[in-house]
């Protein structure tokens, strides 16, 4: 039996062996899709259908299909954009920042979290394009050589910074995620039986051989990409917040926005990671990899960032009072007590009060409570963006233009449609890609475990010969990681 360290909690529970990890993760990929997955995919595809129909209405008839008006020029579109971009941030934080800080517990959740990042950014990217009056000219926001004369883009515009921020973020995240996938694709390729699977995974794994040189390069690239991605965790939402912070609209023109948005992004991102992980670990029986400790740790991050966000909300009010600017003060009074008070109240309840429940150990370690909490936080963060965007715009400087905003079914359709898009992509990922980074999890298997596991499932020292009654010990696959565990 394994000897478990009395000091350090193991990061993988259940006495797994290297082979078990391969088995547990590859099982989903190799088995026929199960009925629950099919059902979930059908629901996701249904919502994706709603997305396409709503997008068709928008593109064919115009933005007038939405509820926007002369005063409120952005509402659900940019709310959804900021919400989705924010959600992506947790993936990057887990994969990059926690890698640099050598938080080994990240290994079993980083793959799915990064996938979430990429899919969330894809959903987010729908909105800046769709919200344009003439989306077929969206490429004009790129600074490219053109025949329009010397027409160039406006480097003063935060929307242009957004273009750079989001495209950089998406490319770096995609590359980082894909590099991590290569050794695992190779594992699946080596095990694949069908000719199509063999071909497909061979192609996806870029001919990975698993040589020491390749592993060394893999680690170096991971580190470099983590270094590149880390500033993005801070910069992307900073730039998104500048869409608002650099404007003259009371309630938007706020210097606190960059840190406040970054904290909010990580907050909502971890909530979404929790929502997804809690489902994934049950559906794919990965409880030993995504453990209750993971959930508790993510809960703590959620609580800290939620508290930062709470402080930011209160600071905004303080500054509005302190500034003695009439318009600024009214914007915040209107936010809390005006016609959209309910949105503000939802935001405060969901984002400031509920995360504080995590102080209770019992809630932090409770799966149903965490699940509910994560959903509440996601709702709250959506309302945060709605409150910032709509309640600031609907009553700004000239009372003559004050209006109310109400969404049409197309607004709602596009939003729930992106949820459909997101879950379609995530379910396809979960079925055809390894949801847990096998190679990296194998390196942390010994963490806190003495007298470590073996490749074959036999307990004991690695140099021991396999017992005779096992027909043939499975060959060590090319993709098996060299044990780099520098702790030992």
């Amino acid at each position: 039996m394994q000897h478990v360290s009395p000091v350090r909690e193991p990061l993988v529970t259940g006495g797994k062996t290297y082979h078990d990890i391969t088995q547990d993760v590859c099982r989903q990929v190799e088995a026929k899709p199960n009925i629950r997955w099919m059902a979930a995919l059908s629901v996701a595809l249904f919502f994706l259908g709603i997305f396409f129909y709503s997008v068709y209405r928008t593109l064919w008839y115009g933005i007038g299909e939405w509820g926007l008006n002369k005063t409120v020029g952005w509402a659900w579109d940019i709310t959804n954009f900021v919400w989705w971009v924010g959600i992506g941030h947790a993936g990057t934080l887990i994969s990059a920042v926690l890698l640099l800080f050598r938080q080994k517990w990240r290994s079993s959740i980083n793959r799915a979290a990064e996938a979430m990042t990429i899919f969330a950014v894809i959903c987010a990217a729908m909105f800046p394009v769709l919200h344009m009056g003439r989306p077929w000219l969206a490429y004009w926001v790129f600074p490219f050589q053109n025949t329009f004369g010397s027409l160039w883009v406006n480097f003063n515009s935060p929307l242009l910074w957004d273009v750079f921020a989001i495209s950089t973020y998406f490319s770096v995240s995609l590359v980082f995620w894909y590099i991590g996938l290569i050794p695992d694709f190779a594992t699946i390729r080596d095990r694949a039986k069908g000719p199509i699977a063999k071909r497909a995974y061979a192609l996806l794994s870029f001919g990975w051989k698993g040589s020491a040189k390749a592993w060394s390069r893999y680690e170096t690239v991971s580190l470099i990409l983590a270094g590149v991605a880390t500033p993005l965790v801070l910069s992307v939402h900073t730039i998104v917040s500048m869409d608002f912070a650099t404007s003259v609209v009371p309630g938007w023109h706020t210097t606190i926005f960059p840190p406040y948005f970054v904290a909010g992004a990580i907050f909502s991102g971890f909530a979404m990671v929790l929502t997804l992980m809690l489902i994934t670990r049950v559906v794919f029986k990965l409880e030993d990899y995504i453990t209750i400790e993971h959930i508790a740790l993510m809960n703590k991050i959620m609580m800290i960032t939620g508290s930062i966000v709470g402080v930011a909300y209160i600071t905004e009010f303080f500054i509005a009072w302190y500034s003695q600017v009439e318009f600024e003060q009214y914007a915040f009074i209107n936010r809390a007590t005006g016609p959209y008070w309910w949105a503000y109240a939802s935001m405060m309840t969901c984002n400031v009060i509920t995360p504080q429940l995590v102080w209770f150990r019992r809630i932090r370690y409770s799966i149903p409570a965490t699940f509910i909490l994560s959903i509440i936080v996601n709702i709250g963060m959506w309302f945060e963006r709605f409150v910032i965007i709509v309640t600031s715009l609907h009553r700004d400087y000239l009372p003559s233009s004050w209006v109310m905003f109400s969404p049409t079914w197309v607004d709602i359709g596009i939003y729930v449609g992106t949820l459909g898009l997101f879950f379609t992509l995530f379910l396809l990922f979960a079925k055809f890609f390894p949801v847990v980074n096998m190679a990296e999890v194998k390196t942390i298997l010994k963490y806190g475990v003495d007298n470590g596991p073996t490749y074959t499932g036999h307990h004991g020292h690695a140099h021991q010969v396999a017992p005779a009654h096992q027909p043939v010990a499975p060959a060590i696959p090319a993709s098996a990681p060299v044990n780099y565990n520098k702790h030992d």
């Binding site: 008839y61 115009g62 952005w74 009056g133 003439r134 926001v141 003259v248 009074i333």
Partner: protein
């Protein structure tokens, strides 16, 4: 009356008089004499074409004809029906929330006492003491070498008739969007008349009532309010917040001080409209000249014959682009070209915008601020420090439009009593 009968805005009421009855929705107005309703005549026409027929109800049958005159003195009864008919209004918030930087007024007595004190000017703190907002700026100023177009709007002269709005609409081929789109708050007017009713509550009540209650009370107009009209259009800011935020440079500053909109470069992010403190930018939510939904209201843009009424010097805007007041740039260009042909500079009064041209009280003066003898320059100079002010001066967008404070000939601090 509406309160007493528990009528709400848009409730349909049946009016019976003279043996016939009509049904009309209720529009609650402050200042309506107690126990009375007003009905506008001239609606409910039968043969007025696509746009005019069957709009509203004809109130004439309620009156009787005696001899050669209409008599309106029959007995009328009113009863509420269950129907609702939403009323399309371009402005639904009726008070100015005591925002001095938005619109200013004073009394004649105050003006006679000291004309330098009728307008409150925003000042910002600098190391050298309180200064005008434009003394401190992040941006470099534009240099206008040839012309610098500007406007003065005298709130004293404005009677709120709306002729400028229609003049602008006709000149600039502005789409008619119909009732539903006005309810959706998407009218396309480049120029509008903001109308503010006075409120009984001011900021002076903060100490007594608290801010929350005061602000809530400010939303209600007085029982018998005074009214101020403020024509509002693109202010052609010299430090325009719309220009900095457009990602594709579709809205830029001209060398003559115009804030200009390049329709065919616009991709329609609407960021400019959000960042416009005056909310004067208008977006083409639909294709108003091809979408069949608008054929009934904007029919003239749909047929060859109808299009003959359009101004050939102004583009009809496509779906998905932003538009706004251009200071009638087509007229500016025309006048400049005419002058150039005659080898002279345009003279003052040669360029007149459609709004200035249609104003019956000459409340709007347009001209070249670079020409010290133009009327607009003279008025701006004379009124500087007296009645001249820029709307929202403190945010330092430096508009090219100067408003002149309204001076009311009333006894100070005395309300009109009914």
């Amino acid at each position: 009356m509406a309160v007493a009968n528990e009528w709400e805005q848009g409730d349909v009421v049946k009016i019976t008089a003279n043996g016939t009855s009509i049904e009309l929705p209720v529009l609650i107005q402050p200042g309506q004499a107690k126990g009375s309703v007003s009905i506008a005549v001239g609606y409910g026409r039968e043969l007025a074409g696509k746009v005019g027929s069957k709009v509203g109800a004809n109130a004439y049958p309620l009156a009787t004809v005696r001899g050669n005159s209409l008599q309106y003195n029959g007995i009328a009864t009113l009863e509420k029906t269950d129907a609702k008919s939403p009323i399309a209004q371009t402005q639904t918030h009726h008070t100015v929330m005591d925002r001095k930087p938005v619109v200013q007024e004073a009394t004649l007595a105050e003006y006679i006492k000291n004309p330098k004190e009728v307008t409150e000017y925003d000042k910002i703190a600098t190391p050298d003491g309180l200064e005008k907002p434009n003394k401190v700026s992040l941006w470099q100023d534009y240099e206008y070498k040839n012309h610098h177009w500007g406007m003065v709007i005298d709130l004293n002269s404005c009677i709120g008739c709306g002729a400028c709005v229609i003049g602008c609409q006709v000149e600039n081929n502005i789409a008619v969007v119909g009732k539903q789109e006005v309810i959706n708050r998407r009218e396309m007017h480049w120029l509008r008349i903001d109308r503010y009713y006075s409120s009984d509550t001011t900021k002076e009540d903060f100490a007594e009532k608290g801010k929350l209650d005061t602000y809530a009370a400010m939303e209600d107009p007085s029982e018998n309010p005074s009214v101020i009209f403020e024509p509002m259009l693109c202010q052609h800011c010299n430090h325009a917040p719309c220009e900095t935020v457009c990602p594709v440079l579709a809205t830029t500053h001209s060398s003559e001080g115009l804030n200009q909109m390049t329709y065919n470069r616009c991709v329609g992010t609407r960021y400019c409209a959000n960042n416009c403190p005056y909310k004067v930018r208008r977006f083409n939510w639909f294709s108003y000249y091809t979408n069949e939904k608008f054929e009934a209201v904007n029919g003239h843009m749909f047929t060859d014959l109808g299009r003959m009424v359009l101004n050939p010097d102004v583009t009809v805007r496509a779906r998905g682009v932003m538009e706004k007041c251009s200071f009638c740039v087509q007229r500016i260009q025309l006048a400049k070209l005419e002058a150039k042909k005659e080898r002279r500079r345009p003279v003052d009064g040669e360029v007149v915008t459609a709004c200035a041209q249609s104003c019956p009280t000459q409340a709007i003066i347009f001209g070249d601020l670079r020409d010290p003898n133009s009327r607009v320059s003279q008025v701006t100079r004379r009124e500087d420090g007296e009645r001249g002010f820029h709307v929202l001066d403190a945010i330092n967008v430096q508009p090219n439009i100067t408003y002149l404070t309204k001076i009311r000939n009333v006894e100070p601090n005395k309300e009109l009593t009914v």
